[in-house]
Amino acid sequence: MSAVQTTSAPDDTRRRGPLAEVVFSLLRSRTFLVGIAIVLFWVVCAFFGEHFAPYDPLADDIINALSPPSSEHWFGTDQIGRDVFSRVIVGSRDILTVAPLATLLATVAGTALGLLTGYFRGIVDDIVSRILEAFMAIPVVIVALLAIVALGTSKTTVIIVIGLSFAPIIARTVRSAVLAERELDYVAAAQLRHESAFHTMFVEILPNVIPPILVETTVRLGYAIFAVATLSFMGFGIQPPSPDWGLSISSNYGMIGGGFWWTVLFDALAIASLVIGVNLAADGVHGAFND
């Protein structure tokens, strides 16, 4: 036979790899760019906030307590005179460590569970899925309460609580993607090589379900931020004297009645903006993978 088809078709639209394709499409998505800009702003604050915050966020100044926003204290001061602006800027640090780590834990655990249930199906799927559903039925707050009693309050506890609460949701997404992949012939081909279940799941199937996992992870990150803030507000999460947003709202919201709105509003806006930023970015990621 001749040299049939030994040269590949001249088609330069194929040159870009799938990853580059996604990055390219992300960079063209206005939603993603706005979202990621907001998130990056807070990430910069978390890393370098103390260098450009006008005051020490922890330094009290009782004489100037509860002073309204002014040119000196842009966002005013709280009940022991700490500068609210500086606290908002530095306050992103804890939430931006705890929430991503919790999401990471949820993704890793959820992916493993999703692969197991989707690959083995049958009895394994029935048992694990029912347990996960039961787990999803318990409110995060109750899980948190139980965990704090058992493990004591710490950032690690918050990470574990949120991570494990979100894992079943990610597991469900991964499971449905795996169920579809499993029907493809490359899985049968792997079985015809006597590959182990572990190899088939993690080497053959996993790379093909990365897109839905990435989308789900970014979406979960938004919820995780919200959850961390909620737990801090309820006193289960990050502990004083951290300038954490949820914690600040919790310790100051009693003041709103007295007209000291600035002690709460700016922290609340910070949480909102970060959640919105993450969600916009998640939206962009979703769009890039589903175009």
Partner: protein, 695 residues
């Protein structure tokens, strides 16, 4: 239908010459279409001109990617968002489509042009009853209520659907593929269009169903005035359906003329080469290799200086590479025809791209490599047993190919999966590989047994893991199946890649960067990694163009001659099966209806079902043929007919015995067994008689 009926020639000769006075149904004049990809406009259609007369059927053929569907979409201005008409004119029934405003365009689409697409399942709304979808069309035309319903029923009658009122109540998924396509055709014809565009209307259908749909279209042509633009990659189908044919290559018309003339006396090397790629006239692997077309179709938007086909054409000279050939007029008494080739007079002297010679060493008669006895598979379907494979016994010798044929749902793929161990068979049957019994489940088979039986799947996109590079895919197969590693693996990898005619360059890329034919080569290489004894080929070429199909079939035949491997070859394309097979098993509802040497099964006398399958296939070599039509659909395997399972559709049913007693698979000739109550000699007489009747 209970008797072999003589269907009239599919083509209606009366409408053959378009009325010169009438306006043409469709005129494309220098039409150019470009798609915007990666920020650049890329030409897909290049100055395409064609004319379809009133009542004429025009076929557009060519390999995938040459612009057939784009032409169809451009006619109704349905191009995708990144597509645009960059030049030329389209006139539908004398009306300039380019000048229509949105409203006029909508009206034209609603009243004068209709399209039928390849996949009827996608053209029908799955959640709306057939009746509602059909009446809606009449309601749009201003007919309402009972009148619209009556018209819908009349329409379904027209497409030969029995019991239309009950079909009206059903949802699309409750209809078979053939019925769905009839409904889609009914919808297309509802507003009595002047132009009907059929885009691969039978590509996804079984041969028997395809024959039915093609017959229907041919009959409708006599009743309706519609002109037809028929798009297909299947040359035989086009030769059967169309008055004139245009061959498209890289968005350019390269040859045009009356169908019979073009296919029997092609004047463009591309047409010549395409026709040579098809296994025809009972050609077999030991009689010679198929010809192939070297190289690739130019990518979309490629800059073409001379003749677009020059790079792949053995006749091309300097002039071909620099000067775009005009459409030479070659009209003679057989009709007007055009060829875009400087050397149209010697196009048929195109040298073969693939030498035909094969060295076939005489095969020593060896012990069977595979023996299957009493194999059954029963699935549970809503609590009822569904016998997907029933009592199959056969054997296969080294270096032999067993062809499995039958309509979809006949159990071909299930049988293959049983052999491979991907699905466990029912208790009782045995599968023996080289004299040793195989465990029913894959995980209980030894590594040696697993590597000895491999498969090439139908769809390489599904069979090759898209996340892995070709190197990874093949190395892994060599590691697991051949137990190689390190240097030895590298050496073997190189051999393997060369044996399927890929090069090192292909190793670094991912499957998506390869064309369909190259992907299938990778899949074949993977199956051959562990020196298998048996390779199951499950429709390995059904997704490929004919030129690529020819190359893959040649490759399979070469590998078989070299490695003495046996194939189990599943295909619905009987020409392909005939080319590669030494033995044929015809399956119907999971049962073997006929089993024998390939030549005996094809030349007959054969089982009435085989006879029907063979006659359903449109052939290039003959046009008006006697066709045996199978009525209705393959019965459900949950509730198979009593007696002979084929009696409900059998055109040669002899009487109550067929309904009461299942005939045995009796050996009619040494090695040739037929499951039929009609004695072999009687079958021979009947089938000879119907051939004589034809002549």
């Amino acid at each position: 239908m209970t008797e072999p009926a003589k269907a009239q020639s599919a083509k209606t000769r009366g409408t053959k010459t378009p009325n010169a006075n009438a306006r043409n149904a469709l005129e494309l004049n220098d039409l150019s279409v470009a798609y915007r990809v990666g920020g650049r406009d890329r030409a897909v259609l290049r100055n395409l001109s064609l004319t379809i007369g009133q009542g004429e059927a025009y076929g557009l053929v060519g390999e995938s990617g040459c612009g057939k569907s784009t032409a169809a979409l451009a006619v109704v201005r349905y191009l995708p968002r990144n597509g645009s008409i960059s030049g030329g004119a389209i006139a539908l029934d004398g009306q300039d489509v380019m000048k229509l405003d949105a409203e006029a365009l909508r009206r034209a689409r609603a009243t004068s042009v209709s399209m039928v697409y390849q996949d009827p399942g996608k053209a029908l709304n799955p959640s709306i009853r057939i009746g509602r979808q059909l009446t809606e069309i009449f309601e749009l035309a201003g007919i309402s209520g009972k009148a619209a319903e009556d018209r819908a029923i009349a329409m379904l009658n027209r497409v030969r659907i029995s019991d239309p009122p009950s079909v009206m109540q059903r949802y699309p998924h409750q209809l078979s593929g053939g019925m769905q396509q009839r409904v889609a055709i009914a919808m297309a014809l509802a507003n009595d269009p002047t132009m009907l565009i059929l885009d691969e209307p039978t590509t996804g259908l079984d041969a028997t169903v395809e024959a039915e749909v093609l017959d229907l279209i041919a009959q409708l042509r006599q009743e309706l005035s519609a002109s037809i633009l028929f798009i297909s990659h299947n040359l035989a189908v086009v030769s059967h359906m169309c008055d004139r044919v245009g061959v498209l290559y890289a968005g350019m018309l390269v040859e045009e003329g009356p169908t019979e003339v073009v296919f029997n006396d092609p004047r463009h090397p591309y047409t010549v080469a395409l026709l040579r790629c098809l296994p025809r006239g009972g050609q077999r692997k030991d009689q010679g290799r198929l010809d192939t077309i070297p190289g690739f179709l130019p990518g979309i938007g490629a800059v073409i200086k001379g003749c677009a086909f020059a790079d792949r054409c053995a006749l091309a000279d300097e002039r071909c590479r620099t000067e775009l050939p005009p459409l030479y007029e070659l009209s003679d008494e057989r009709g007007a025809r055009l060829s875009r080739c400087h050397h149209h007079d010697k196009a048929q002297a195109l040298p073969r791209a693939t030498p035909s010679e094969v060295a076939t060493p005489p095969k020593p008669v060896a012990q069977p490599v595979l023996r299957v006895a009493g194999l059954n598979k029963t699935y549970a379907s809503h609590g009822h047993p569904l016998r997907a494979v029933k009592d199959v016994s056969l054997d296969l010798r080294p270096g032999e190919t067993l062809g499995l044929v039958g309509e979809s749902g006949s159990g071909k793929t299930t049988f293959a999966r049983l052999l491979l161990g991907l699905v466990p068979p029912d208790d009782g049957g045995t599968i023996e590989l080289e004299g040793k019994a195989l465990a029913p489940k894959l995980e209980n088979r030894g590594d040696d047994q697993v590597k000895a039986m491999q498969i090439v799947f139908q769809n390489p996109d599904s069979a090759l893991n898209r996340s892995h590079s070709i190197r990874h895919l093949l190395s892994r197969a060599l590691k697991r199946l051949a137990g190689l590693s390190g240097k030895a693996l590298e050496t073997r990898l190189e051999d393997l890649v060369r044996s399927v005619r890929l090069t090192d360059r292909h190793l670094a890329v991912k499957p998506r960067q390869l064309s369909g034919g190259l992907k299938q080569r990778v899949a074949i290489a993977r199956a051959f990694a562990g020196d298998p004894r048996i390779v199951v080929c499950d429709e390995p070429t059904s997704a490929l163009d004919v030129s690529v199909q020819a190359a893959i079939l040649n490759l399979l035949a070469d590998l078989q001659a070299k490695e003495d491997v046996s194939y189990i070859f599943i295909s619905h394309d009987l020409g392909v099966v005939r080319y590669l097979s030494d033995k044929i098993a015809v399956l119907y509802l999971g049962r073997i209806m006929e089993l024998g040497p390939s030549e005996a099964v094809f030349s007959g006398p054969h089982h009435p079902y085989t006879e029907a399958l063979l006659s359903a296939v449109p052939k290039l070599d003959q046009t008006g043929t006697t066709r045996i039509r199978l009525d209705g659909e393959i019965p459900s395997a949950v509730n198979p007919p009593s007696g002979c399972v084929f009696h409900t559709r059998c055109p040669r049913k002899i009487g109550p015995i067929c309904e009461q007693q299942e005939p045995p698979l009796a050996e009619a000739q040494p090695g040739h067994a037929i499951r039929c109550h009609i004695p072999y000699d009687e079958l021979a007489r009947l089938q000879k008689a119907s051939v004589a009747e034809l002549a």
